[in-house]
Protein backbone atom coordinates (compact mmCIF):
# COMPACT_ATOMS: atom_id res chain seq x y z
CA UNK A 1 0.00 0.00 0.00
CA UNK A 2 2.67 2.43 1.06
CA UNK A 3 4.85 1.31 -1.81
CA UNK A 4 1.98 1.88 -4.22
CA UNK A 5 1.32 5.30 -2.79
CA UNK A 6 4.99 6.16 -2.93
CA UNK A 7 5.27 4.86 -6.47
CA UNK A 8 2.15 6.74 -7.47
CA UNK A 9 3.40 9.88 -5.83
CA UNK A 10 6.70 9.61 -7.67
CA UNK A 11 4.82 9.08 -10.88
CA UNK A 12 2.54 12.00 -10.14
CA UNK A 13 5.43 14.34 -9.69
CA UNK A 14 6.70 13.52 -13.14
CA UNK A 15 3.51 13.86 -15.05
CA UNK A 16 2.34 17.04 -16.76
CA UNK A 17 -0.50 15.61 -18.76
CA UNK A 18 -4.04 15.66 -17.50
CA UNK A 19 -4.12 12.04 -16.44
CA UNK A 20 -6.60 11.85 -13.62
CA UNK A 21 -5.38 8.56 -12.25
CA UNK A 22 -1.91 9.77 -11.53
CA UNK A 23 -3.14 13.04 -10.18
CA UNK A 24 -5.00 11.27 -7.43
CA UNK A 25 -1.78 10.03 -5.88
CA UNK A 26 0.14 13.28 -6.35
CA UNK A 27 0.67 15.54 -3.31
CA UNK A 28 -1.77 18.38 -3.07
CA UNK A 29 0.33 21.34 -4.20
CA UNK A 30 1.64 19.47 -7.18
CA UNK A 31 -1.85 18.53 -8.14
CA UNK A 32 -2.86 22.15 -8.36
CA UNK A 33 0.22 22.96 -10.38
CA UNK A 34 -0.52 20.29 -12.96
CA UNK A 35 -4.13 21.33 -13.13
CA UNK A 36 -3.24 24.94 -13.85
CA UNK A 37 -0.86 23.83 -16.53
CA UNK A 38 -3.62 21.74 -18.05
CA UNK A 39 -6.00 24.63 -18.13
CA UNK A 40 -3.71 26.97 -20.03
CA UNK A 41 -2.62 24.32 -22.49
CA UNK A 42 -6.22 23.33 -23.09
CA UNK A 43 -7.13 26.91 -23.87
CA UNK A 44 -4.31 27.24 -26.36
CA UNK A 45 -5.44 24.09 -28.03
CA UNK A 46 -9.15 24.40 -28.58
CA UNK A 47 -9.91 28.08 -28.25
CA UNK A 48 -12.15 29.52 -25.66
CA UNK A 49 -15.01 27.66 -24.12
CA UNK A 50 -18.38 28.68 -25.47
CA UNK A 51 -21.59 28.84 -23.55
CA UNK A 52 -25.07 28.55 -24.99
CA UNK A 53 -25.72 32.29 -25.32
CA UNK A 54 -22.46 32.80 -27.21
CA UNK A 55 -23.38 30.04 -29.59
CA UNK A 56 -26.84 31.47 -30.19
CA UNK A 57 -25.41 34.89 -30.85
CA UNK A 58 -22.90 33.43 -33.26
CA UNK A 59 -25.55 31.51 -35.15
CA UNK A 60 -27.88 34.45 -35.56
CA UNK A 61 -25.20 36.92 -36.54
CA UNK A 62 -22.55 35.01 -38.42
CA UNK A 63 -23.97 31.84 -39.82
CA UNK A 64 -25.79 32.89 -42.94
CA UNK A 65 -27.50 30.75 -45.48
CA UNK A 66 -26.31 30.63 -49.11
CA UNK A 67 -29.22 30.04 -51.45
CA UNK A 68 -28.54 27.71 -54.34
CA UNK A 69 -30.67 29.55 -56.86
CA UNK A 70 -32.99 26.59 -57.37
CA UNK A 71 -36.23 27.30 -55.55
CA UNK A 72 -37.31 23.79 -54.65
CA UNK A 73 -33.96 22.98 -53.05
CA UNK A 74 -33.86 26.26 -51.18
CA UNK A 75 -37.24 25.67 -49.58
CA UNK A 76 -36.23 22.12 -48.68
CA UNK A 77 -33.04 23.28 -47.03
CA UNK A 78 -34.70 26.09 -45.14
CA UNK A 79 -33.09 28.84 -47.18
CA UNK A 80 -30.07 27.21 -48.73
CA UNK A 81 -26.65 25.91 -47.80
CA UNK A 82 -25.84 26.78 -44.22
CA UNK A 83 -22.42 28.18 -43.41
CA UNK A 84 -20.33 25.94 -41.23
CA UNK A 85 -22.06 22.81 -42.48
CA UNK A 86 -21.27 20.10 -44.96
CA UNK A 87 -24.09 19.36 -47.42
CA UNK A 88 -24.14 16.28 -49.60
CA UNK A 89 -26.14 15.89 -52.80
CA UNK A 90 -26.46 12.34 -54.04
CA UNK A 91 -28.37 10.74 -56.85
CA UNK A 92 -28.20 8.33 -59.77
CA UNK A 93 -26.34 9.17 -62.91
CA UNK A 94 -27.47 12.24 -64.87
CA UNK A 95 -29.94 13.36 -62.21
CA UNK A 96 -28.71 16.95 -62.01
CA UNK A 97 -26.06 16.92 -59.28
CA UNK A 98 -23.53 18.85 -61.34
CA UNK A 99 -26.25 21.32 -62.29
CA UNK A 100 -26.99 21.95 -58.59
CA UNK A 101 -23.30 22.64 -58.00
CA UNK A 102 -23.05 24.96 -61.01
CA UNK A 103 -26.17 26.82 -59.96
CA UNK A 104 -24.93 27.31 -56.39
CA UNK A 105 -21.61 28.60 -57.68
CA UNK A 106 -23.22 31.06 -60.11
CA UNK A 107 -25.75 32.22 -57.56
CA UNK A 108 -23.01 32.96 -55.03
CA UNK A 109 -21.13 34.86 -57.72
CA UNK A 110 -24.14 36.87 -58.86
CA UNK A 111 -25.13 37.94 -55.38
CA UNK A 112 -21.50 38.85 -54.57
CA UNK A 113 -21.50 36.68 -51.50
CA UNK A 114 -17.83 35.85 -51.80
CA UNK A 115 -15.38 33.65 -53.61
CA UNK A 116 -16.44 30.17 -54.66
CA UNK A 117 -13.87 27.40 -54.83
CA UNK A 118 -14.89 24.59 -57.19
CA UNK A 119 -12.93 21.35 -57.03
CA UNK A 120 -13.77 19.32 -60.09
CA UNK A 121 -12.93 15.65 -60.50
CA UNK A 122 -14.81 14.81 -63.65
CA UNK A 123 -14.01 17.71 -66.01
CA UNK A 124 -17.61 18.78 -65.83
CA UNK A 125 -17.06 22.39 -64.86
CA UNK A 126 -18.32 24.31 -67.83
CA UNK A 127 -17.68 28.07 -67.94
CA UNK A 128 -20.13 28.52 -70.78
CA UNK A 129 -22.86 26.95 -68.69
CA UNK A 130 -22.02 29.26 -65.78
CA UNK A 131 -22.19 32.24 -68.12
CA UNK A 132 -25.60 31.08 -69.35
CA UNK A 133 -26.88 30.70 -65.80
CA UNK A 134 -25.56 34.12 -64.80
CA UNK A 135 -27.15 35.66 -67.87
CA UNK A 136 -30.42 34.08 -66.93
CA UNK A 137 -30.46 35.66 -63.50
CA UNK A 138 -28.87 38.94 -64.42
CA UNK A 139 -32.01 40.88 -65.21
CA UNK A 140 -33.26 40.47 -61.67
CA UNK A 141 -30.06 41.48 -59.92
CA UNK A 142 -29.75 45.10 -58.96
CA UNK A 143 -26.42 44.76 -57.21
CA UNK A 144 -23.67 47.29 -57.39
CA UNK A 145 -22.02 47.63 -60.73
CA UNK A 146 -25.18 48.02 -62.72
CA UNK A 147 -23.63 50.96 -64.53
CA UNK A 148 -20.86 48.76 -65.93
CA UNK A 149 -21.44 47.19 -69.32
CA UNK A 150 -22.74 43.66 -69.37
CA UNK A 151 -19.46 42.02 -70.25
CA UNK A 152 -17.61 43.69 -67.42
CA UNK A 153 -20.19 42.57 -64.93
CA UNK A 154 -19.98 39.03 -66.24
CA UNK A 155 -16.21 39.12 -65.94
CA UNK A 156 -16.18 40.27 -62.33
CA UNK A 157 -18.74 37.66 -61.42
CA UNK A 158 -16.91 34.83 -63.11
CA UNK A 159 -13.66 35.92 -61.54
CA UNK A 160 -15.01 35.06 -58.16
CA UNK A 161 -15.34 31.39 -59.09
CA UNK A 162 -12.04 29.56 -58.77
CA UNK A 163 -11.95 26.11 -60.34
CA UNK A 164 -9.30 23.47 -59.72
CA UNK A 165 -9.15 19.96 -61.13
CA UNK A 166 -8.18 17.15 -58.80
CA UNK A 167 -7.79 13.61 -60.01
CA UNK A 168 -6.64 11.65 -56.99
CA UNK A 169 -7.03 11.72 -53.26
CA UNK A 170 -3.51 12.95 -52.56
CA UNK A 171 -4.01 15.90 -54.88
CA UNK A 172 -7.15 16.62 -52.91
CA UNK A 173 -5.27 16.59 -49.60
CA UNK A 174 -2.73 18.97 -51.07
CA UNK A 175 -5.33 21.40 -52.35
CA UNK A 176 -7.19 21.41 -49.04
CA UNK A 177 -3.96 21.91 -47.13
CA UNK A 178 -3.01 24.85 -49.33
CA UNK A 179 -6.44 26.32 -48.83
CA UNK A 180 -6.14 25.92 -45.09
CA UNK A 181 -2.72 27.60 -45.00
CA UNK A 182 -3.79 30.52 -47.13
CA UNK A 183 -6.91 31.03 -45.06
CA UNK A 184 -4.93 30.87 -41.82
CA UNK A 185 -2.53 33.50 -43.10
CA UNK A 186 -5.58 35.55 -43.84
CA UNK A 187 -4.76 35.86 -47.50
CA UNK A 188 -7.92 36.86 -49.27
CA UNK A 189 -8.50 35.57 -52.75
CA UNK A 190 -9.15 37.33 -56.02
CA UNK A 191 -10.31 40.80 -55.33
CA UNK A 192 -10.35 41.21 -51.61
CA UNK A 193 -13.24 38.91 -50.80
CA UNK A 194 -13.25 35.88 -48.59
CA UNK A 195 -14.16 32.42 -49.73
CA UNK A 196 -17.70 31.53 -48.79
CA UNK A 197 -18.48 28.30 -50.64
CA UNK A 198 -16.42 25.20 -51.33
CA UNK A 199 -17.83 22.73 -53.85
CA UNK A 200 -16.35 19.30 -54.45
CA UNK A 201 -17.98 17.79 -57.48
CA UNK A 202 -17.97 14.09 -56.99
CA UNK A 203 -15.87 13.32 -53.99
CA UNK A 204 -17.04 9.76 -54.52
CA UNK A 205 -15.01 9.41 -57.72
CA UNK A 206 -11.90 10.27 -55.76
CA UNK A 207 -12.70 7.81 -53.01
CA UNK A 208 -14.00 4.93 -55.14
CA UNK A 209 -10.54 3.58 -56.13
CA UNK A 210 -9.38 3.28 -52.54
CA UNK A 211 -12.42 2.16 -50.58
CA UNK A 212 -13.11 -1.50 -50.16
CA UNK A 213 -10.91 -4.50 -50.05
CA UNK A 214 -9.28 -5.73 -46.93
CA UNK A 215 -6.98 -2.79 -46.24
CA UNK A 216 -8.48 -0.01 -44.14
CA UNK A 217 -6.32 2.81 -45.47
CA UNK A 218 -8.99 3.85 -47.94
CA UNK A 219 -11.60 4.35 -45.29
CA UNK A 220 -9.19 6.23 -43.05
CA UNK A 221 -8.39 8.58 -45.92
CA UNK A 222 -12.08 9.15 -46.47
CA UNK A 223 -12.55 10.05 -42.82
CA UNK A 224 -9.51 12.36 -42.93
CA UNK A 225 -10.93 14.22 -45.92
CA UNK A 226 -14.25 14.48 -44.13
CA UNK A 227 -12.59 15.89 -41.02
CA UNK A 228 -10.59 18.43 -43.00
CA UNK A 229 -13.68 19.61 -44.86
CA UNK A 230 -15.69 19.98 -41.67
CA UNK A 231 -12.84 21.76 -39.95
CA UNK A 232 -12.58 24.22 -42.84
CA UNK A 233 -16.31 24.78 -42.71
CA UNK A 234 -16.31 25.44 -39.01
CA UNK A 235 -13.20 27.55 -38.67
CA UNK A 236 -13.62 29.78 -41.69
CA UNK A 237 -17.38 29.90 -41.88
CA UNK A 238 -17.73 28.21 -45.27
CA UNK A 239 -20.49 26.09 -46.64
CA UNK A 240 -19.22 22.93 -48.20
CA UNK A 241 -21.17 21.10 -50.89
CA UNK A 242 -20.14 17.64 -52.06
CA UNK A 243 -21.71 15.20 -54.50
CA UNK A 244 -21.95 11.48 -54.27
CA UNK A 245 -23.34 8.76 -56.49
CA UNK A 246 -25.55 5.75 -55.93
CA UNK A 247 -24.76 2.08 -55.82
CA UNK A 248 -27.08 -0.87 -55.78
CA UNK A 249 -28.26 -2.10 -52.43
CA UNK A 250 -29.65 -5.49 -53.34
CA UNK A 251 -33.16 -6.28 -54.60
CA UNK A 252 -32.94 -3.53 -57.17
CA UNK A 253 -32.84 -0.70 -54.64
CA UNK A 254 -30.14 1.95 -54.68
CA UNK A 255 -28.31 3.61 -51.85
CA UNK A 256 -25.69 6.36 -51.68
CA UNK A 257 -22.14 5.23 -52.22
CA UNK A 258 -19.22 5.42 -49.77
CA UNK A 259 -20.77 3.18 -47.17
CA UNK A 260 -21.85 3.36 -43.57
CA UNK A 261 -18.97 5.43 -42.22
CA UNK A 262 -19.73 8.26 -44.59
CA UNK A 263 -23.37 8.42 -43.53
CA UNK A 264 -22.49 10.27 -40.34
CA UNK A 265 -20.22 12.80 -42.01
CA UNK A 266 -22.45 15.35 -43.81
CA UNK A 267 -24.77 17.54 -41.81
CA UNK A 268 -27.38 17.62 -44.53
CA UNK A 269 -27.99 14.93 -47.16
CA UNK A 270 -30.21 15.31 -50.19
CA UNK A 271 -31.17 12.69 -52.74
CA UNK A 272 -32.18 13.95 -56.17
CA UNK A 273 -33.59 12.12 -59.15
CA UNK A 274 -34.76 13.13 -62.58
CA UNK A 275 -37.55 11.74 -64.68
CA UNK A 276 -36.39 10.42 -67.99
CA UNK A 277 -36.44 13.05 -70.68
CA UNK A 278 -37.59 16.02 -68.65
CA UNK A 279 -36.12 18.93 -66.75
CA UNK A 280 -38.04 18.36 -63.55
CA UNK A 281 -36.05 16.83 -60.71
CA UNK A 282 -37.19 15.66 -57.32
CA UNK A 283 -35.18 16.22 -54.17
CA UNK A 284 -35.65 14.34 -50.90
CA UNK A 285 -34.08 15.19 -47.58
CA UNK A 286 -32.27 12.15 -46.24
CA UNK A 287 -30.76 13.79 -43.19
CA UNK A 288 -30.91 17.30 -41.76
CA UNK A 289 -29.70 18.66 -38.46
CA UNK A 290 -32.46 21.20 -37.99
CA UNK A 291 -35.47 20.26 -40.08
CA UNK A 292 -37.44 17.07 -40.45
CA UNK A 293 -36.16 14.57 -42.99
CA UNK A 294 -38.21 12.75 -45.56
CA UNK A 295 -39.70 15.86 -47.15
CA UNK A 296 -39.58 16.15 -50.91
CA UNK A 297 -39.73 19.01 -53.36
CA UNK A 298 -39.59 19.35 -57.11
CA UNK A 299 -37.31 21.76 -58.86
CA UNK A 300 -36.60 22.62 -62.44
CA UNK A 301 -33.16 22.98 -63.92
CA UNK A 302 -33.47 25.84 -66.36
CA UNK A 303 -31.79 25.29 -69.68
Amino acid sequence: MAAAGGGGGGGGRATTSGCGLKRRYAPHDQEEETMNQDQSSKEDWCGRLWNGMDLLKDVTENKHVLPTGLEGIDTLLGGGLRQGQLTEVTGPSSSGKTQVCLHSASHAAVKHMGVVMYLDTSNSFSPSRIATIIDGTNDLSDQRGFDLPHKERLKTMMRSIVCKSVFDIFGMFEVLHQLEVSLLNDKVKSGGRKICLLIVDSISSLLAPIIGGKYPQGRSMMISVAMILKKLAYKHNLSVLVTNHMVSAGNGAVKPALGESWKAVPHVRLVISREHGSNICTATVLKHTLLASGRTAKFVVPS
Binding site: S93, T121, N123, S124, L206, I210, H245, M246, S248
Partner: protein, 314 residues
Protein backbone atom coordinates in the same frame (compact mmCIF):
# COMPACT_ATOMS: atom_id res chain seq x y z
CA UNK B 1 -2.77 0.34 -100.95
CA UNK B 2 -4.52 -2.70 -102.24
CA UNK B 3 -8.01 -3.06 -100.99
CA UNK B 4 -11.30 -4.42 -102.19
CA UNK B 5 -13.56 -1.90 -103.77
CA UNK B 6 -16.73 -1.51 -101.82
CA UNK B 7 -20.03 -2.28 -103.50
CA UNK B 8 -21.14 1.33 -103.04
CA UNK B 9 -20.95 3.57 -106.07
CA UNK B 10 -18.44 6.35 -106.01
CA UNK B 11 -20.71 9.11 -107.12
CA UNK B 12 -22.92 9.22 -104.09
CA UNK B 13 -25.12 12.22 -104.42
CA UNK B 14 -25.90 14.39 -101.47
CA UNK B 15 -28.25 17.27 -101.43
CA UNK B 16 -25.61 19.86 -100.93
CA UNK B 17 -22.03 20.33 -99.84
CA UNK B 18 -21.39 19.21 -96.32
CA UNK B 19 -19.27 20.82 -93.68
CA UNK B 20 -17.20 18.14 -92.13
CA UNK B 21 -16.27 17.91 -88.54
CA UNK B 22 -19.42 19.40 -87.14
CA UNK B 23 -21.72 17.23 -85.17
CA UNK B 24 -25.40 17.85 -85.20
CA UNK B 25 -27.49 16.67 -82.35
CA UNK B 26 -30.94 17.99 -82.13
CA UNK B 27 -33.96 17.60 -80.00
CA UNK B 28 -37.05 16.44 -81.73
CA UNK B 29 -38.93 19.50 -80.57
CA UNK B 30 -36.48 22.18 -81.46
CA UNK B 31 -36.09 23.71 -84.86
CA UNK B 32 -33.40 26.23 -84.28
CA UNK B 33 -31.19 27.08 -87.13
CA UNK B 34 -28.04 27.65 -85.18
CA UNK B 35 -24.72 26.60 -86.54
CA UNK B 36 -21.39 27.31 -84.99
CA UNK B 37 -18.15 26.61 -86.77
CA UNK B 38 -15.66 25.11 -84.40
CA UNK B 39 -12.07 25.85 -85.16
CA UNK B 40 -10.51 26.39 -81.78
CA UNK B 41 -8.16 23.69 -80.61
CA UNK B 42 -9.88 23.14 -77.34
CA UNK B 43 -12.97 21.68 -78.87
CA UNK B 44 -13.07 18.40 -80.61
CA UNK B 45 -16.24 17.92 -82.54
CA UNK B 46 -17.53 14.42 -82.90
CA UNK B 47 -17.91 12.62 -86.15
CA UNK B 48 -20.66 13.58 -88.40
CA UNK B 49 -21.85 16.30 -90.65
CA UNK B 50 -24.42 18.97 -90.16
CA UNK B 51 -24.73 21.73 -92.58
CA UNK B 52 -26.12 22.29 -96.02
CA UNK B 53 -24.68 25.47 -97.36
CA UNK B 54 -27.13 26.04 -100.14
CA UNK B 55 -30.31 24.93 -98.53
CA UNK B 56 -31.89 26.45 -95.50
CA UNK B 57 -30.65 25.05 -92.28
CA UNK B 58 -33.23 22.97 -90.52
CA UNK B 59 -33.22 21.67 -86.94
CA UNK B 60 -29.67 21.77 -85.82
CA UNK B 61 -27.92 22.02 -82.57
CA UNK B 62 -24.33 21.52 -81.69
CA UNK B 63 -22.45 19.16 -79.50
CA UNK B 64 -19.02 20.20 -78.49
CA UNK B 65 -17.03 17.68 -76.60
CA UNK B 66 -14.32 19.51 -74.83
CA UNK B 67 -11.72 17.84 -72.73
CA UNK B 68 -13.89 15.46 -70.88
CA UNK B 69 -14.80 11.89 -71.36
CA UNK B 70 -17.45 10.82 -73.72
CA UNK B 71 -18.93 7.44 -73.05
CA UNK B 72 -20.67 5.92 -76.03
CA UNK B 73 -23.19 3.19 -75.47
CA UNK B 74 -23.69 0.70 -78.18
CA UNK B 75 -26.84 -1.25 -78.54
CA UNK B 76 -25.28 -4.63 -79.07
CA UNK B 77 -26.54 -7.85 -77.68
CA UNK B 78 -24.15 -10.11 -75.86
CA UNK B 79 -23.26 -12.71 -78.43
CA UNK B 80 -23.04 -11.24 -81.86
CA UNK B 81 -20.41 -10.03 -84.27
CA UNK B 82 -19.23 -6.48 -84.00
CA UNK B 83 -22.01 -4.77 -85.85
CA UNK B 84 -20.96 -2.28 -88.34
CA UNK B 85 -22.59 0.91 -87.21
CA UNK B 86 -20.74 1.30 -83.94
CA UNK B 87 -17.51 0.60 -85.69
CA UNK B 88 -18.12 3.42 -88.10
CA UNK B 89 -18.63 5.84 -85.27
CA UNK B 90 -15.26 5.19 -83.74
CA UNK B 91 -13.46 5.15 -87.04
CA UNK B 92 -15.22 8.29 -88.15
CA UNK B 93 -13.96 10.03 -85.05
CA UNK B 94 -10.42 8.87 -85.63
CA UNK B 95 -10.53 10.15 -89.19
CA UNK B 96 -12.29 13.41 -88.55
CA UNK B 97 -9.79 14.60 -86.03
CA UNK B 98 -7.20 14.73 -88.74
CA UNK B 99 -8.92 17.19 -91.01
CA UNK B 100 -6.44 20.02 -91.44
CA UNK B 101 -7.11 23.23 -89.60
CA UNK B 102 -7.70 25.26 -92.71
CA UNK B 103 -10.67 23.13 -93.58
CA UNK B 104 -12.33 23.49 -90.24
CA UNK B 105 -10.98 20.47 -88.47
CA UNK B 106 -8.28 20.05 -85.88
CA UNK B 107 -5.34 18.65 -87.78
CA UNK B 108 -4.43 16.25 -85.02
CA UNK B 109 -3.61 12.62 -84.62
CA UNK B 110 -5.61 9.87 -83.04
CA UNK B 111 -4.87 7.02 -80.64
CA UNK B 112 -7.00 3.95 -81.04
CA UNK B 113 -6.95 1.30 -78.33
CA UNK B 114 -8.61 -1.88 -79.49
CA UNK B 115 -9.66 -4.61 -77.09
CA UNK B 116 -11.77 -6.77 -79.34
CA UNK B 117 -9.88 -6.69 -82.59
CA UNK B 118 -12.64 -5.13 -84.60
CA UNK B 119 -10.61 -2.41 -86.29
CA UNK B 120 -10.93 -3.08 -90.02
CA UNK B 121 -8.30 -1.22 -91.97
CA UNK B 122 -10.04 -1.49 -95.31
CA UNK B 123 -13.06 0.24 -93.93
CA UNK B 124 -10.88 2.98 -92.44
CA UNK B 125 -9.34 3.55 -95.84
CA UNK B 126 -12.77 3.82 -97.39
CA UNK B 127 -13.96 6.33 -94.83
CA UNK B 128 -10.78 8.37 -95.21
CA UNK B 129 -11.35 8.52 -98.95
CA UNK B 130 -14.93 9.58 -98.46
CA UNK B 131 -13.87 12.28 -96.03
CA UNK B 132 -11.27 13.67 -98.42
CA UNK B 133 -13.73 13.67 -101.26
CA UNK B 134 -16.15 15.66 -99.20
CA UNK B 135 -13.48 18.17 -98.22
CA UNK B 136 -12.53 18.73 -101.81
CA UNK B 137 -16.14 19.00 -102.78
CA UNK B 138 -16.83 21.57 -100.13
CA UNK B 139 -13.74 23.71 -100.55
CA UNK B 140 -13.27 23.67 -104.31
CA UNK B 141 -11.73 27.13 -104.43
CA UNK B 142 -8.77 26.17 -102.33
CA UNK B 143 -7.89 23.42 -104.72
CA UNK B 144 -5.69 25.71 -106.73
CA UNK B 145 -4.19 27.58 -103.80
CA UNK B 146 -2.42 25.17 -101.54
CA UNK B 147 -0.80 22.44 -103.53
CA UNK B 148 1.32 21.49 -100.54
CA UNK B 149 -1.81 21.08 -98.48
CA UNK B 150 -3.17 18.89 -101.23
CA UNK B 151 -0.42 16.39 -100.75
CA UNK B 152 -1.52 15.95 -97.14
CA UNK B 153 -4.99 14.99 -98.17
CA UNK B 154 -4.20 11.43 -99.02
CA UNK B 155 -5.90 8.53 -97.25
CA UNK B 156 -2.49 7.07 -96.53
CA UNK B 157 -1.58 10.13 -94.48
CA UNK B 158 -4.78 9.83 -92.54
CA UNK B 159 -4.05 6.21 -91.79
CA UNK B 160 -0.49 7.01 -90.78
CA UNK B 161 -1.72 9.40 -88.14
CA UNK B 162 -3.69 6.83 -86.22
CA UNK B 163 -1.72 5.17 -83.44
CA UNK B 164 -3.13 1.75 -82.84
CA UNK B 165 -2.78 -0.38 -79.71
CA UNK B 166 -4.17 -3.88 -79.49
CA UNK B 167 -4.67 -5.31 -76.02
CA UNK B 168 -5.66 -8.80 -75.04
CA UNK B 169 -6.29 -8.77 -71.31
CA UNK B 170 -7.23 -6.39 -68.57
CA UNK B 171 -3.70 -6.14 -67.26
CA UNK B 172 -2.59 -4.99 -70.69
CA UNK B 173 -5.39 -2.45 -70.66
CA UNK B 174 -4.25 -1.01 -67.35
CA UNK B 175 -0.67 -1.01 -68.60
CA UNK B 176 -1.56 0.86 -71.80
CA UNK B 177 -3.43 3.54 -69.93
CA UNK B 178 -0.52 3.96 -67.56
CA UNK B 179 1.83 4.20 -70.50
CA UNK B 180 -0.44 6.62 -72.33
CA UNK B 181 0.66 9.55 -70.26
CA UNK B 182 4.28 9.13 -71.26
CA UNK B 183 3.27 8.48 -74.85
CA UNK B 184 1.20 11.64 -75.02
CA UNK B 185 4.05 13.63 -73.56
CA UNK B 186 6.12 12.63 -76.57
CA UNK B 187 3.39 12.97 -79.17
CA UNK B 188 1.87 16.30 -78.40
CA UNK B 189 -0.38 16.49 -81.43
CA UNK B 190 -2.75 13.70 -80.48
CA UNK B 191 -6.20 15.17 -80.09
CA UNK B 192 -8.37 12.14 -79.43
CA UNK B 193 -8.06 8.80 -77.68
CA UNK B 194 -10.66 6.21 -78.61
CA UNK B 195 -10.91 3.12 -76.45
CA UNK B 196 -12.90 0.44 -78.12
CA UNK B 197 -14.89 -1.41 -75.55
CA UNK B 198 -13.26 -0.36 -72.32
CA UNK B 199 -15.32 -2.89 -70.40
CA UNK B 200 -14.80 -5.93 -72.56
CA UNK B 201 -12.10 -7.55 -70.46
CA UNK B 202 -13.84 -6.74 -67.23
CA UNK B 203 -17.17 -8.30 -67.98
CA UNK B 204 -16.33 -11.95 -68.05
CA UNK B 205 -14.17 -13.94 -65.65
CA UNK B 206 -13.61 -11.22 -63.12
CA UNK B 207 -14.29 -12.79 -59.76
CA UNK B 208 -13.81 -9.98 -57.31
CA UNK B 209 -16.46 -7.38 -58.10
CA UNK B 210 -15.25 -4.88 -55.55
CA UNK B 211 -11.78 -5.02 -57.08
CA UNK B 212 -13.30 -4.47 -60.50
CA UNK B 213 -15.06 -1.32 -59.31
CA UNK B 214 -11.85 0.00 -57.77
CA UNK B 215 -9.76 -0.71 -60.86
CA UNK B 216 -12.28 0.85 -63.21
CA UNK B 217 -12.71 4.01 -61.17
CA UNK B 218 -8.94 4.34 -60.99
CA UNK B 219 -8.81 3.96 -64.80
CA UNK B 220 -11.44 6.59 -65.35
CA UNK B 221 -9.65 9.08 -63.08
CA UNK B 222 -6.41 8.53 -64.99
CA UNK B 223 -8.19 9.09 -68.29
CA UNK B 224 -9.78 12.27 -66.97
CA UNK B 225 -6.37 13.53 -65.95
CA UNK B 226 -4.95 12.75 -69.40
CA UNK B 227 -7.85 14.50 -71.08
CA UNK B 228 -7.33 17.61 -68.98
CA UNK B 229 -3.54 17.75 -69.12
CA UNK B 230 -3.10 17.15 -72.82
CA UNK B 231 -6.26 18.92 -73.92
CA UNK B 232 -7.81 16.09 -75.85
CA UNK B 233 -11.05 14.17 -75.91
CA UNK B 234 -11.31 10.63 -74.64
CA UNK B 235 -14.04 8.52 -76.15
CA UNK B 236 -14.95 5.24 -74.50
CA UNK B 237 -17.24 2.68 -75.92
CA UNK B 238 -19.34 0.45 -73.78
CA UNK B 239 -22.10 -2.06 -74.11
CA UNK B 240 -25.66 -2.07 -72.95
CA UNK B 241 -27.27 -4.85 -70.98
CA UNK B 242 -30.85 -5.42 -69.98
CA UNK B 243 -32.04 -5.30 -66.44
CA UNK B 244 -35.32 -6.66 -65.22
CA UNK B 245 -36.85 -4.20 -62.76
CA UNK B 246 -40.46 -3.76 -61.74
CA UNK B 247 -41.75 -6.10 -64.35
CA UNK B 248 -40.14 -4.53 -67.37
CA UNK B 249 -36.85 -4.84 -69.15
CA UNK B 250 -34.72 -1.79 -69.05
CA UNK B 251 -31.53 -1.04 -70.83
CA UNK B 252 -28.71 -0.06 -68.57
CA UNK B 253 -25.06 0.54 -68.98
CA UNK B 254 -22.83 -2.46 -68.49
CA UNK B 255 -20.73 -2.51 -65.33
CA UNK B 256 -23.19 -0.65 -63.19
CA UNK B 257 -23.83 2.72 -61.64
CA UNK B 258 -20.35 3.59 -60.49
CA UNK B 259 -19.00 3.31 -64.03
CA UNK B 260 -21.81 5.40 -65.44
CA UNK B 261 -21.00 8.05 -62.85
CA UNK B 262 -17.42 8.42 -63.97
CA UNK B 263 -18.05 9.80 -67.46
CA UNK B 264 -18.60 13.42 -68.26
CA UNK B 265 -20.93 12.99 -71.22
CA UNK B 266 -22.92 10.03 -72.39
CA UNK B 267 -24.26 9.34 -75.85
CA UNK B 268 -26.55 6.38 -76.51
CA UNK B 269 -26.88 4.99 -80.03
CA UNK B 270 -30.00 3.03 -80.76
CA UNK B 271 -32.37 1.93 -83.46
CA UNK B 272 -35.80 3.48 -83.74
CA UNK B 273 -37.69 1.45 -86.29
CA UNK B 274 -35.43 1.65 -89.27
CA UNK B 275 -33.64 4.82 -88.32
CA UNK B 276 -30.48 5.10 -86.28
CA UNK B 277 -30.61 7.61 -83.49
CA UNK B 278 -28.09 9.14 -81.14
CA UNK B 279 -29.32 10.34 -77.76
CA UNK B 280 -27.35 12.67 -75.52
CA UNK B 281 -28.08 11.36 -72.08
CA UNK B 282 -25.69 13.16 -69.78
CA UNK B 283 -23.89 16.43 -70.28
CA UNK B 284 -22.88 19.27 -67.99
CA UNK B 285 -23.65 22.03 -70.42
CA UNK B 286 -26.08 20.78 -73.05
CA UNK B 287 -29.68 19.71 -72.68
CA UNK B 288 -30.89 16.21 -73.37
CA UNK B 289 -31.42 15.71 -77.10
CA UNK B 290 -31.41 13.14 -79.85
CA UNK B 291 -30.68 13.19 -83.53
CA UNK B 292 -30.90 10.72 -86.39
CA UNK B 293 -27.87 9.72 -88.38
CA UNK B 294 -27.09 7.30 -91.15
CA UNK B 295 -24.22 5.07 -92.05
CA UNK B 296 -23.22 5.26 -95.67
CA UNK B 297 -20.33 4.14 -97.79
CA UNK B 298 -18.51 7.31 -96.97
CA UNK B 299 -19.00 7.00 -93.24
CA UNK B 300 -21.49 8.58 -90.92
CA UNK B 301 -23.60 11.38 -92.30
CA UNK B 302 -26.85 13.10 -91.56
CA UNK B 303 -29.94 11.03 -92.12
CA UNK B 304 -31.14 12.95 -95.14
CA UNK B 305 -31.08 10.66 -98.07
CA UNK B 306 -32.47 7.22 -97.72
CA UNK B 307 -30.34 5.61 -100.40
CA UNK B 308 -26.98 4.06 -99.78
CA UNK B 309 -27.71 3.39 -96.16
CA UNK B 310 -26.73 0.12 -94.59
CA UNK B 311 -29.71 -1.89 -93.52
CA UNK B 312 -30.33 -3.03 -90.00
CA UNK B 313 -28.64 -6.29 -89.02
CA UNK B 314 -30.90 -8.24 -86.69
Amino acid sequence: MEHNRSPYPDAVTFQGPRMLGICSLTSSHRNTSLLVLVTSMTYLVAGFTAKKLLRSVVSQGLVKLNWGMLCLLMNTSAADLPTKYDLFFRIQLAINVQIPVEYGGLGGKAVYIDTEGSFMVERVYQIAEGCIRDILEHFPHSHEKSSSGQKQLQPEHFLADIYYFRICSYTEQIAVINYLEKFLGEHKDVRIVVIDNVTFHFRQDFEDLALRTRVLSGLSLKLMKIAKTYNLAVVLLNQVTTKFTEGSFQLTLALGDSWSHSCTNRLILYWNGNERYAHLDKSPSLPVASAPYAVTGKGIRDAVSSHHKRARVT
